[in-house]
């Protein structure tokens, strides 16, 4: 078990992706870089209201090669060492819910709770691989919720506990 959003949790997500990718038939060649902007919304205890955390993830030949957290200055620019291919933006409670398996990530994108920027053609053409990435994030690892587990009540005060 790893604490949500801790380095060991992300390592577990990465390892899960890479183990599942081996099972799919149509692993895309080449790579892409994804930024994820998680915005504090006052409900998630893991992000200060108005604050944000930003992550950069690199996928090559279907595998997660690396990830790292960015500071807000870097996240606000588009000038990374690697050109950015996608950006996912959404409130912390939505990402928390997805990680807890309470909200489907495709539903979140279709519902506009998570905004997706980038060339959707590649994601559409690699739907099977994208499903693996999403499943790893959603259900792939055992997660501890040291500051409470979603669903959260107003202002995070009614946390259901870890």
């Amino acid at each position: 078990m790893a604490d949500i959003y801790s380095p060991s949790w992300y390592d577990a997500v990465r390892d899960t992706i890479n183990s599942k990718v081996a099972d799919i038939s149509d692993v895309p060649d080449g790579g892409f870089t994804v930024a994820v902007d998680i915005q504090g919304d006052g409900a998630s205890p893991y992000f200060p209201a108005g604050g944000a955390r930003h992550f950069l993830i690199r996928i090559d030949d279907g595998r997660c090669e690396w990830y790292r957290e960015m500071d807000s200055t870097e996240a606000g620019t588009f000038d990374h060492d690697e050109p950015l291919d996608y950006r996912f933006i959404g409130p912390a409670t939505v990402f928390d819910d997805i990680a807890a398996g309470l909200r489907d990530p495709i539903d979140a994108a279709l519902g506009g709770q998570v905004k997706v920027r980038g060339d959707m053609r590649f994601l559409m053409r690699q739907a099977e691989h994208v499903q693996v990435l999403l499943e790893a994030y959603t259900n792939g690892v055992s997660t501890d919720w040291p500051q409470g587990r979603p669903p959260y009540g107003p202002n995070g005060s009614e946390s259901a506990g870890a």
Binding site: A35, F78, L84, D85, Y86, R87, D104, I106, D107, A109, L110, G111, G112, Q113, K115, V116, R117, G118, D119, M120, R121, M124, R125, A127, E128, V130, Q131
Partner: protein
């Protein structure tokens, strides 16, 4: 006149100007060539009636504002372009004096629909809410990217299980008409008629199989209709300013006689005046495919099969628009205001289509070349943009769905029909708004389908979408599969006008998507891709 450029763009409509601006901002030496005396194409605003009355001769409805990337990328608002989004967007007025009103605010629209059917109001709320959730995602996927195939899209939708997640989206929609979609989800004929009418004014005919797939997206922008303040031409002028500020050149009165092709590559153009301009990197045509491949290019420069297919297989819309532009001393006061006072504040009003059967019958008549009993839609821009008329006065625009070629007399029949049919359209409006007496209507001018094709020659047969809107003429099939990715069989020649995906309307989409292909081919860094 200088004679050599990096990029030559044929056609100074909004797509030509948009592509020109992006390329100029990318550091290319760009010229945009426009046949007419001014830029803009369908973004054409003229004093057709009396001095001070600014009439949008063609494009009037701006529905992609803040949805289309070029609006922000090219900073159009910094170039004197201002939009207003009317509080009361659209209404349908029915013969029994009732009215359905679409507001900017969803709650108010639902209240109006609920007067006909509470169930339909709740369905509309769910549809609108769902569509607003994915409108950005779908527009980014479907409109502002070079197109995928229907097969690829269908496969992806199935993989992501969209059908099971959405009440309204689904793979089966690619076989269904908008009528079928409406019959499945809505109950009241007037509600269905209004939504079908909205589809029609967006170019999506309600009885054409397959168009249901785009309908949820149309609902996603049903409340995003904008007026370009001071007339639609202001947008064209703003785009021109952006082009000029970034070093590009627009030349008006510059009709292209032919595209120069050497060793299979487009290397320039010759103007009707005889001047020759050379293009170091590319030539892009925003004209119709017929002009581009049958008139402007030497027959030996393109495969004979393509010329044959352009001549025979390019599909055009089977209905067009007859317009009446009016100068008025008062705004319409509808009798239906007794039922809902907000109809008098509605920017666009559909007069009289009370069921999808009404609309279907209209399409049948029009396809036979018959003139319908007028049931025009009426727009009064001055309600929200007082700058388009002298103080205390109003411009009006009546639009009637109509055939291009009249039974018996052909397109030329419009020359005889224009005045009397225009008069009938005004009479039809007056039945719903009795205050619009002859004293109030100070002057009026018809604008016929024939004139559309003469003034905006790209719009072949008055085809204001520059290509049929049907499933087999969408995405990578538009206008022909071999031209569906903006490239042509001639190296360095691109298609970037509304013949291409997504389609006509002020979408900026064809230019924006052609830009992606051009950038890939000539190695431009996509500064505009703000991920």
């Amino acid at each position: 006149m200088r004679s050599d450029y990096d990029a030559i763009i044929i056609g100074g409509g909004h797509n030509g100007l948009t592509l020109g601006s992006y390329l100029a901002r990318s550091g290319l030496d760009v010229v945009v060539l426009e046949r007419r005396h001014e830029e803009g194409g369908g973004l054409c605003t003229e004093e057709l009636t009396l001095p001070g009355f600014l009439h949008n001769v063609h494009a009037n409805y701006h529905t992609f504002v803040d949805l289309a990337p070029p609006v922000t990328d090219l900073e159009v608002r910094s170039h004197g372009v201002e939009y207003v989004r009317p509080e009361v967007q659209m209404a349908s007025i029915y013969d029994d004096g009732t009215a359905l009103v679409v507001h900017r605010e969803l709650d108010r629209t639902c209240e109006s629909i609920a007067r006909f059917s509470e169930e339909d109001a709740e369905t509309f709320r769910r549809l609108n809410t769902e569509a607003h959730g994915y409108v950005d995602l779908l527009l980014g996927t479907l409109m502002y990217q070079p197109p995928m195939s229907v097969k690829e899209l269908t496969k992806a939708l199935a993989m992501f299980g969209v059908e099971g997640r959405s009440e309204f989206l689904g793979v089966k929609l690619r076989r269904e008409t908008i009528n079928q979609f409406l019959d499945q989800h809505f109950t009241h004929p007037k509600v269905k008629a209004h939504l079908a009418f909205h589809g029609a004014v967006c170019g999506y005919t309600n009885d054409v199989p397959g168009l249901a797939i785009g309908f949820p997206l149309l609902i996603g922008k049903i409340d995003n209709w904008h007026i370009c303040v001071g007339g639609s031409h202001r947008l064209a002028h703003g785009l021109w300013r952006d082009l000029a500020q970034h070093g590009g050149t627009l030349i008006s009165d510059a009709e292209v006689d032919h595209i120069v092709v050497e060793d299979g590559r487009a290397v320039g153009v010759t103007l009707a005046s005889g001047e020759e301009l050379s293009a170091r990197k590319l030539v892009a045509s925003t004209l119709d495919v017929e002009q581009t491949f049958l008139r402007l290019i030497d027959p030996d420069a393109v495969p004979a099969e393509l010329r044959t297919r352009v001549a025979n297989d390019v599909k055009h819309k089977d209905w067009t628009l007859f317009s009446v532009h009016l100068a008025m001393s008062a705004a319409p006061e509808y009798a239906a205001a007794e039922f809902d006072p907000d109809v008098n504040r509605a920017w666009v009003v559909n007069l009289g289509y009370a069921s999808t059967d009404d609309l279907d019958a209209e399409w049948q008549r029009i396809r036979r070349g018959e003139l319908p009993d007028p049931r025009p839609n009426a727009a009064v821009n001055s309600l929200y943009d007082p700058t388009d008329a002298p103080p205390g006065h109003f411009t009006g625009l009546l639009r009637q769905f109509a055939p291009f070629s009249l039974a018996g007399t052909g397109p030329g029949g419009w020359e005889q029909a224009a005045r009397w049919y225009g008069h009938r359209c005004i009479e039809a409006w007056r039945r719903y708004a009795p205050n619009l007496t002859d004293d109030v209507i100070l002057d009026w001018a018809p604008f016929t389908p024939l004139e559309i094709s003469q003034k905006m020659v790209n719009m072949v047969g008055g085809d204001w979408m520059m290509g049929e809107i049907s499933l087999d003429n969408m995405l990578d099939q538009r206008p022909l599969p071999e031209l569906g990715q903006y490239r042509t069989p001639v190296d360095g020649l691109y298609m970037a006008g509304s013949t291409q995906h997504p389609h006509g309307y002020i979408t900026f989409g064809p230019a924006y998507n052609a830009l992606q292909i051009i950038a890939e081919d000539i190695g431009l860094a996509p500064w505009w891709r703000k991920i």
